[in-house]
């Protein structure tokens, strides 16, 4: 037993699950977003523990960096409806609680534990093969670090076996980008703009608007109205 790894694992589990619970229960939605960052960092550390360094860095960059900042921005831009005073949970939150608990205790955990020992046997076999290969490559002595598939293999897989999904994901990101801009931007046609001289003249003839106020500044008119 490696007690260091064990301790780290339990600390990280406590961090991840504890901040996860805070995310879904705290009243203040900004605090929830901050706890979310803590959960993301905990998950990144777990990846580190499982020797997936590249994914740990991606997790910090994308989730802890980008997604959580996006969430905070959205909260700040809409703060009147996300105030701290209002109730944050449904009145029937206990139904959700029961559903989640039933799924956890009734479905996933028994399933996983029932399969656990056979998986652990496969895992120790796979690990033994890894150690043996690493020892052979090192000239007979067992090296400090047993290599597993890392960034290099991941890159090769993304350009090889997984080329098609990789390319499609890039299209998906494009679609999401266009969509987000389309939805969040003010509509072009609705934007108030200053009229051209010709339009102003036409409007004045029809008597729709008084184009100048007392200071002589041009009063913007809805472009739609001008047509």
């Amino acid at each position: 037993m490696n007690y260091v790894v064990l301790t780290i694992f339990f600390l990280l589990s406590a961090l991840t699950l504890g901040s996860g619970i805070m995310v879904v229960t705290v009243k203040n939605i900004i605090h929830a977003a901050l706890w979310l960052i803590s959960t993301f960092v905990g998950v990144a550390a777990l990846y580190m523990l499982m020797e997936a360094e590249f994914l740990a860095i991606v997790q910090v960059l994308v989730y802890a960096g980008a997604v959580s900042i996006l969430v905070l921005f959205a909260i700040m831009l809409t703060r009147q409806i996300t105030g701290t005073g209002t109730r944050q949970l449904h009145s029937r939150w206990w139904v959700a609680m029961l559903t989640a608990a039933a799924l956890f205790g009734g479905v996933i955990v028994p399933t996983v534990w029932q399969q656990g020992s056979s998986w652990d046997k496969t895992a120790s076999d796979a690990q033994a093969i890894l150690v043996q290969q690493a020892t052979e490559a090192n000239g007979g002595t067992r090296p400090e670090i047993i290599p597993v598939a890392g960034t290099e293999e991941l890159g090769a897989a993304l350009m090889g076996e997984y080329l098609l999904p990789f390319e499609v994901v890039s299209l998906l990101l494009t679609a999401a980008l266009i969509g987000a801009i389309l939805i969040a931007f003010e509509e072009r046609t609705r934007r108030r703009r200053v009229l051209t001289l010709a339009e102003e003249l036409a409007l004045r003839k029809r008597g729709i608007v008084e184009p100048h106020d007392e200071e002589g500044a041009v009063v913007p008119v809805d472009a739609e109205q001008a047509v």
């Binding site: 979310l36 997604v67 956890f104 939805i183």
Partner: protein, 105 residues
Amino acid sequence: MVGTIPIAWVLTLAAGLFCIGLFGALSRRNTVGILMGIELMLNSVNINLVAFWRYLRPMGTAGLTFTVFTIAVAAAEVAVGLAMVIAIYRARQTINADEADTLKG
């Protein structure tokens, strides 16, 4: 990691995070809160995938690549979702032409 911690523990941790996220997504009234719950669910899946990769197929890449795809898709989804939150908020704030039309029609 392998040999010290049984895989079932890691999977239980992931299942716990998934169900916490599920609870959040089902019980929050606030849209951003629901989105945060969904993010927790997707994160827990990634723990599962990485654990399967490390324990069962340490020299393969299927679990790793799938995690990368999940992260990308989750980020795209959250970006679109937050854009919608902002747009709806703005639409509620301003009385625009369409609403006036709605009253007439």
